[in-house]
């Protein structure tokens, strides 16, 4: 069909493909980055202050309530949450996610049995978070914690312990 397929025609054809490809790429690259940007989004490290270290009793778990401000896109959400804090010496702290690892029910501390008990399916955890009874697949989840200037800070993202 292309009987007059000389240099000029094939050059123009190539030029059209090249320019279209260039424009297409110029549009596809920013679009791709925009669409895929959640992949590279950093999770924000929000340390939350729970209070002075001295107010936390030793060798007895205490439930501490706190307000968590989370950024959700253009919205800042304030959520009430809590954590169980345990310390043996007032210096090293263990902070548990307040939800049972089985199905997420909130559990309580039974002071007489010295166990965390979950009412939903009769799960029991030791003071170290290990499963003592019931269906939970793993020990209690922990929050990262640190002490800065005599105050206890936690980062309420569960650090799951497989087990």
């Amino acid at each position: 069909m292309d009987t007059e397929d000389n240099g000029r025609r094939s050059f123009l054809k190539k030029a059209i493909f090249f320019l279209s490809g260039l424009i297409g790429a110029g549009l596809a690259v920013p679009s791709g980055i925009y669409f895929l940007s959640p992949i590279w989004k950093k999770t924000e490290e929000d340390w939350i202050e729970l209070g002075p270290v001295g107010e936390i009793p030793k060798r007895e778990p205490i439930k501490v309530d706190f307000v968590q401000r989370k950024k959700d896109g253009w919205v800042t959400v304030e959520g009430r949450s809590s954590a169980w804090v345990i310390t043996a010496d007032g210096q090293n702290f263990t902070v548990f996610d307040p939800h049972c690892t089985h199905l997420g029910c909130p559990y309580r501390w039974d002071a007489s049995k010295k166990q965390f008990l979950c009412p939903c399916h009769n799960a029991a955890f030791g003071i170290d978070g290990e499963v003592l009874a019931g269906p939970p697949p793993r020990a209690l989840d922990r929050f990262a914690s640190k002490v800065v200037g005599g105050k206890l800070l936690i980062r309420p993202l569960s650090e799951k312990k497989e087990g």
Partner: protein, 223 residues
């Protein structure tokens, strides 16, 4: 590559489709101004792609619209570029489609047998203006808000149906949350659906009938 093309060609004659679409006979004397239609089509694709991306991070509520647009511009990688393309693309769309229309008018290309293409084109032009009007409000900034107020009041000046028209535009007595959701739905659902249908028919006619030859210069002999 050739094998893949052959596979499709054997089944659905893709070469024939390609020849019909791209290897069309073009009349002599056709120049750059005949590319305005294709330029409009390119802008349409640009607006669709960037618009879809923007819709992914936009919230059509008075409390969130402005903040979500700020979020797109400042937080999302390439967000400023995507929004910028959509904003400038919108202006170019109106300009290029209008120039296309002017070209067709002055060259008399709307005449027999292409009246239908012209009528569809006029409708497309109206849809494009509708896109511009509804899209202007969505960032929910002062300019968009007051421009829409002016637009709704203009509609209100129409005899007999004016008040009803401005109420329908605003979705109520005042310009507010309902106006925003209305404009958003029109902008991303009603108008795109209309535009796709109209452009589809418009292009079908263009391919089917071929484009008109430029008018021949009158040789000065008047009868």
């Amino acid at each position: 590559m050739k094998k893949i093309v052959d596979w499709f060609d054997e089944r659905i004659q893709t070469r024939e489709i390609k020849e019909t679409l791209f290897d069309r006979k073009i009349p002599k004397g056709v120049g750059w101004i005949y590319a305005l239609g294709s330029a409009s089509l390119f802008l349409l694709i640009l607006q669709a792609v960037t618009g879809i991306l923007l819709a992914m991070s936009y919230s059509a509520a008075p409390d969130h619209a402005y903040a979500s647009v700020q979020y797109i511009t400042e937080q999302i990688p390439m967000g400023a570029i995507i929004r910028g393309l959509h904003k400038w693309g919108a202006s170019f769309m109106v300009i290029v489609v209008t120039l296309h229309m002017i070209r067709v008018y002055f060259m008399g290309a709307y005449k027999f047998p292409r009246e239908l293409t012209w009528v569809l084109g006029v409708l497309i032009w109206l849809v494009v203006i509708g896109f511009g009007f509804t899209g202007y409000l969505l960032p929910w900034d002062q300019k968009g808000y007051w421009a829409t107020m002016v637009g709704a009041n203009l509609a209100g000046q129409a005899p007999f149906i004016g008040e009803a028209a401005s109420k329908v535009l605003r979705g109520g007595e005042a310009l507010g949350a309902i106006t925003l959701t209305r404009f958003y739905a029109i902008h991303v659902l009603v108008l795109p659906a209309s535009l796709l249908t109209l452009v589809g028919l418009h292009l079908f006619l263009v391919v089917r009938q071929g484009i008109s030859a430029p008018p021949e210069r009158d040789k000065g002999e008047r009868s």
